[in-house]
Symmetry: C2
Subunit: 209 residues, 2 copies
């Protein structure tokens, strides 16, 4: 809670956070065009002046929001990793959780920004480094949670394919609730992935043994 006795820098941080969260919510619900600095400031209950003090341009606000929310999701993911079961159930849990990220509001907000950036060179230049970072961090997280050896090229590609699948499932959920079909796909792929990774591990062991 923000109170009158809170130090100034904590208040400033809380204001910044409200703006970032309002930006993601606005992008996910109202879309790219409707997400202006004015709309976000009003949604967050922050004055226009204070908003522009934190984020001089709309592009600054939007890229900061995506970056911050992605980091927050990954921090959550790091904490959740301690509770993973072993074996096939682990692979299923990891694929399920990955797919959850790609169907949540941060993905839906990112999709608005990516699509706008396709036809906007300035935005594209800002988004490309984020895309690179998100891809690398999500991949590393998936490898750690699956507990596999990413130095093996086939393992690397199957983890990449799992992230691509998750992105595709995210896109299929944009206009309607696709959760029932998605659940079946996640289980089917997790089964195939689990035996492919194990088979691959066996082949590597046999080749080096």
């Amino acid at each position: 809670m923000v109170t009158a006795r809170e130090p100034k820098q904590d208040r400033s941080r809380a204001t910044r956070l409200r703006l970032l969260e309002a930006t993601i919510a606005s992008l996910a619900d109202q879309g790219w065009s409707a997400t202006t600095v004015g709309v976000v400031a009003e949604k967050a209950g922050v004055s226009r002046g204070a908003t522009q003090h934190h984020f001089p341009t709309r592009e600054d606000l939007i890229t900061a929001a995506l970056d911050y929310m992605f980091d927050t999701r990954m921090d959550d993911a790091r904490r959740e990793s301690t509770a993973l079961p072993p074996g096939l159930a682990r692979t299923e849990a990891v694929v399920e959780r990955l797919v959850e990220y790609y169907t949540g509001p941060v993905f839906k907000a990112a999709l608005q920004v990516w699509t706008a950036a396709a036809a906007d060179p300035e935005m594209r230049a800002r988004v490309l480094p984020l895309e690179d970072k998100f891809g690398r961090v999500a991949h590393r997280m998936a490898v750690e949670h699956l507990g596999v050896d990413d130095r093996d090229p086939q393992t690397h590609r199957l983890v990449q394919a799992t992230l691509d699948l998750a992105r595709g499932l995210g896109l299929a959920d944009v206009l309607s609730d696709d959760s029932r079909r998605r659940g079946e796909i996640v289980r089917a792929w997790a089964g195939v992935l689990d035996s492919s990774l194990k088979m691959n591990k066996g082949e590597i062991a046999a080749a080096s043994g």
Copy 2:
């Protein structure tokens, strides 16, 4: 070529086609906001009046363009299916071609429309039946080209997953050329898909034998 001696209805059809193609090109290159009836008419070299005779609203023009271009791609796919090799090479060729559709201009145009429809209830109502149709037709096409039995639930889910993967790979190609990485993913996926479909077939035969 449109000539003065061409019958009126052929000229009308040619005009319509030019408008549909200009709409897809404009959506894919300039994005949703820039794709107005005026911009498309100018790009196609068609008068504003003639454009509105064919397509009374922007929404009519855009949904007709997606629908027509999708049907055209699928007609091409039907003709290409005669040249498929057997075995794993067939699975690879089918996955590769599917992924090609999802990285081409029709997908890039559709992505603009889907993303806009996420925050636009009227557009969403128009796009949902298209999404349903595109999904069904692409699935049937993939099943035919792979030569598998879609009545088996696991086969059905793996074909669905392949379409979801293709969609995810399409999205990864929107801001930068992802073709090198994509080629590796397609080959890895096709290998896993091919052995899973074969294994599945063997299990069904054993269970019913």
